[in-house]
Structures are given as C-alpha cells and as structure tokens.
C-alpha cells in the first residue's frame, strides 16, 4: 500500500473535490433547513435532486427549452414536487415521515427507471449540457486572462460556489426573520407553536419546498458535472451522504454545512489516493464505509457536530 501524493498537489484535483463538495453543500443546505431548523426528517432529498436534474435534462433534450429557463423551471418543478409530497406526508411525525419521504424518493427513482421514453431508463440521459459547455468555454476565455485558462473545471466550480453563496445568504437571512423564528419554534415543539397561532403544516410545507428547490439546483449542477444522469446517480445513498455532511457540520448551522461537506469530500476523495490494491467497487465501498462511520461517530460523540449549538439541539426522532 503506497500513497501517491503527487496528485494531491494538482489544482485540478482540488477543483474537482470542490465542485462535488459545493454540490453537496447546496444539497445539504436544504436538509439543514428541514432537519436543523424546522425539525422535519426529510429522507427523500435525493428524490427532489433527481426531479430537478431530470426536469432540466428533459426540458432541454425533449422540449428544446433554453438552458437557463430549463434550469429555473427544474427548481420550480422540484418545489412543486416538494409541495405535493409534503402535502401528503407532512402530517406524519418523525420516523413515519422519514419512511414516507424515502419511499417517495424511491418512487421517483422507479419512474426514472421505467419511464424510458422520457428519462432514458437505466441508460440515462446525456447531451443536455451543450449550452453549459458554451458558457464554460466563454468563462475559460476570461479566466485565461488571469492565467487560469487551462483549468477546465474552474467554471463549474465558480458557478457552484456562487450558487451556494447566494443560497447561504438567502437562508441565513431568512433564519433571522420572524419567519425563521416560527420554524425554530416548530422544530422544538409543534403543539406550542400551534397554540400560539402558527400554522405548523404550512410552515413545514414551505420548508420542504425550499429544500426541494435547493436539491434541484444541486441536481442540475451534478448533472453538469457528471454529464450523464441515470437513476442510480440519485440513490438513497446521496440523501444519507447529505445527512453525514449535515451532522458533521452541525445541526442548525448553515455555514457548518459547507465545512462538513468540504471536510467529508476531502477525506472521501483522498481515500482514492491511498493506492490500495483494490477494484473500483471496493474503493467505492471504502468511501461509503467512511460515510457510515462518520454518521455513527458524530451521533455518538458529538451530536451537535462541529458548528452546532448544544443549547439549541433538539434531537427529536
């Protein structure tokens, strides 16, 4: 077993890690809003991600919508899915909600697999990124002015973190408003919030819809990053990696999400540097093993994560 460190010094490696970490940061911001701020256990976030990514790809490929419009529409469609799924499930509490949402996500994945004319089935979809490639080339031309023209992944990196920055600013702002205060009250005690006249269900629905929109944006970026989407790109594993990011960063902390994501993905990607004599499936297993261990370790030893506040921990199930 040797460790090849040369790649660690290569900037394109870190740019690649940064893109994935950024995508999961956006994805987990939604989870943070649901779990950390509203107290709803959304186990179906990967499903909303799939809805977003497929919506964008389908609108571009099958309906020839302009890419920016398709991107915006994909978020709107995922938010609508959030409202529909939420309307059906958000009266359930805790574990039941977790089961209902993960089942809903599986249903999305089932549709993606079986509605082949639209989704390409297990073959998936590709070729939806032509407009993006053009934009990326334009950005690279600008970047070459500062000597960064050969970092082909840099445009996506910039766009991803810019979107994260906007989402972070938006959510941080929202948390500080009276609206955010109601969410915190609901997180702690729904009955108390209702007794003070707050429409708990409506707030949960809004929370889930916003999270779904964020998942969709993350899905769109993921689609641009991997250039081919198929149902397995959005398996339940993705949701749980999001949860690992979430608890690592700390429940309730939006900035912690980015910290958790960068940390986790640095470790996961670095795992591929340890040149174990292993096949690809086993390297993937090592990575997911780390995710599992992170989940367990954080929940056992530091349930408030790196940035969470212990006083505000509401660890309802």
């Amino acid at each position: 077993m040797t460790i090849d460190l040369t790649a660690l010094a290569a900037p394109d490696f870190w740019i690649g890690v940064g893109i994935v970490a950024g995508i999961y940061s956006i994805f987990s911001l939604g989870l943070q809003l649901n779990v950390g701020l509203t107290g709803i256990l959304n186990f179906g976030q990967a499903g909303f991600m799939a809805v977003g990514a497929y919506a964008m790809a389908i609108l571009i490929l099958r309906f020839h919508w302009p890419a920016p419009v398709a991107l915006a529409a994909s978020a709107a469609i995922a938010m609508l899915a959030g409202v529909v799924i939420g309307a059906a499930s958000l009266r359930l509490s805790g574990d039941y909600l977790a089961m209902a949402t993960i089942a809903a996500a599986q249903l999305v994945s089932g549709v993606a697999q079986n509605a082949a004319p639209l989704t390409g089935g297990n073959q998936g979809l590709l070729g939806y990124d032509a407009a993006w490639t053009t934009l990326a080339r334009w950005m690279l031309a600008r970047l070459s002015a500062v000597g960064l023209g050969d970092q082909s992944q840099l445009p996506l990196f910039i766009v991803t973190w810019a979107i994260f920055g906007l989402a972070l600013a938006l959510l941080t702002g929202l948390r500080g408003t009276p609206w955010g205060r109601v969410l915190r009250a609901i997180r702690e005690d729904e009955a108390a919030a209702a007794a003070l006249g707050k429409n708990v269900f409506a707030y949960k629905l809004q929370s889930l819809a916003i999270a779904a929109g964020l998942a969709a944006l993350a899905g769109d970026l993921l689609a641009l990053n991997i250039t081919l989407i198929y149902p397995q790109s959005f398996s339940a594993d993705v949701t749980f990696i999001g949860f690992a990011v979430l608890v690592l960063g700390g429940l309730g902390s939006f900035a912690g999400v980015a910290l958790g994501s960068v940390l986790l993905w640095s470790v996961l990607e670095a795992a591929s540097f340890v040149r174990l004599p292993l096949a690809a499936d086993k390297v993937a297993a090592v990575q997911m093993l780390i995710v599992g261990l992170v989940l367990i370790a954080v929940m056992v030893w530091r349930p408030e994560g790196l940035r969470g506040k212990r006083e505000e921990m509401v660890l309802r199930g």
């Binding site: 009276p178 609206w179 209702a194």
Partner: protein
Amino acid sequence: MASRPGAPGPAPILEVRDLRRAFGGVRAVDRASLAVEQGSITALIGPNGAGKTTLFNLVTGFLRPDAGDVVFAGRPVTGRPAHVIARLGMMRTFQLTKALGAMTVLDNMLLAAQDQPAEHLAGLLAGPASWRRREAANRTRALGILERFRLAAQARAYAGTLSGGQRKLLELARLLMAAPRLVLLDEPLAGVNPVLGREILAHMHALRRERGMTFLFIEHDMEAVMNNADVVIVMAQGRVIARGRPRDVRRDAAVIDAYLGAHAEDTA
C-alpha cells in the same frame, strides 16, 4: 345546591355543547356541555382522568371531537385547526409547561406577538425596514411585560435555563403578549411553590381587571379554586356534573360523590 349542569350564564364567550371524544373504549369526554361567561374567572375541576385536559384539547382544536359543538365568541369553531382557534383569540397552556427551551426568553415573547406580518414569506417581501420596525416595537412591549413578570433580567437567556416556576410565568407572559380574549390554563399552579402560586393568581386577576381577559383554568388545589374562581365547573367521567359558585359546588352531593367515588376506585 349548584345549578343545572352546563347551564349557560349571561353572555358566554365560550359555549360547549354535548362534546364527545372516545379513545378506543375510553369515553374521555362524554356529552360535556358548559359555558364560560365573558370576563369571568372560571375553574374546571374534577378527579384525575375526568377528561378536563381532553376537553381543553377538543375546545382548542388539538383534538377532533367525535360529536358536539364548540362556539367561541359567537362563532362555531368545532373541529377547526388549533392555530386558527388561537388566532381567533382563544389560547391555552399545557399541563406540562411548553416554554420553548432552545429559544431565548425574548424570542419566546416575540413569537407570541400576533401582529408580525413578516412571519409569512409574503410579508417578508415588503422589505426588512418595515418588519424591523414592528419587531422593535414588539421588543419594547415584550420587555415591559417581562419586567412585570420579573423575567426581564433573563430576557436573553435560553428559556431552557429558567426554573420550573419561571417557565410557568413565561408561559403566562407569552399569553399576555399574544393578548387573547379567553385563556385556558391547564393546572397553572401544579408544581409551583406557594409564593409563586399566589403571584400567578394575582396576575390572573390583574389581567382580567386591566384587559378584560376571561380565564378558564383547570386546578386541583381546592383552596385556590375556592378563593379565586367566580364559577366552578365540575367534571367526572367525561361529563359536566355541576356548575355554580364555589361555595355551592363544594356542598353539591353529586360532586362529593364523584370525588369519593374516585377515591374508592383508587384504593380498590
């Protein structure tokens, strides 16, 4: 002798008719009827398991009744969601205090304010300046109320750090912030030391005097009930069995029976 069970007095702010709710085989509330007069301090008493808390839950929308009607301030509210009923001006506390421990005392108060449009996403669109002004006004009002309840020093502390008695006070202060017309208190004196108990009762009288608030409170401390309530309503086994002035009710044969019966069952 006390008057007929559930007999309506003049100008009831709350009327409950034939309310029913069963849990499996247990008829927790069984055709209960009662009326609460505007501006009164009414006590709801009855042995453990009589259905008092369940009645509160039904009236305030936390449980759906199987049958019966609830009329608040002339409006039928039967089966309406809890938050709607609260917004109409009927608010309640819980048998186990529900101060929001992971929020500060001040945030607890601000949460109770009913006039903050920025609690809704649409209201936020008006821009931060307008809701911040409202927020500042509410903060001033909240601090004033906290002062009155001797909680001002803890305004920035997490409510979870308060003592049990202080939490009860905070719940009351929060209600005052929300300014409902009718307040339903589920055992406000339970687990509270006598000094604080007297303080809570004094707040109740003062709020009625100053703001015309009406109170319906569940209580097991008979001395407090006898000395503070204008009207006492007695429940047993899901029904209202008596209603009247405190000194009449305590002599009511059905009431004595209910309590003795409950004791007999306890010891059996």
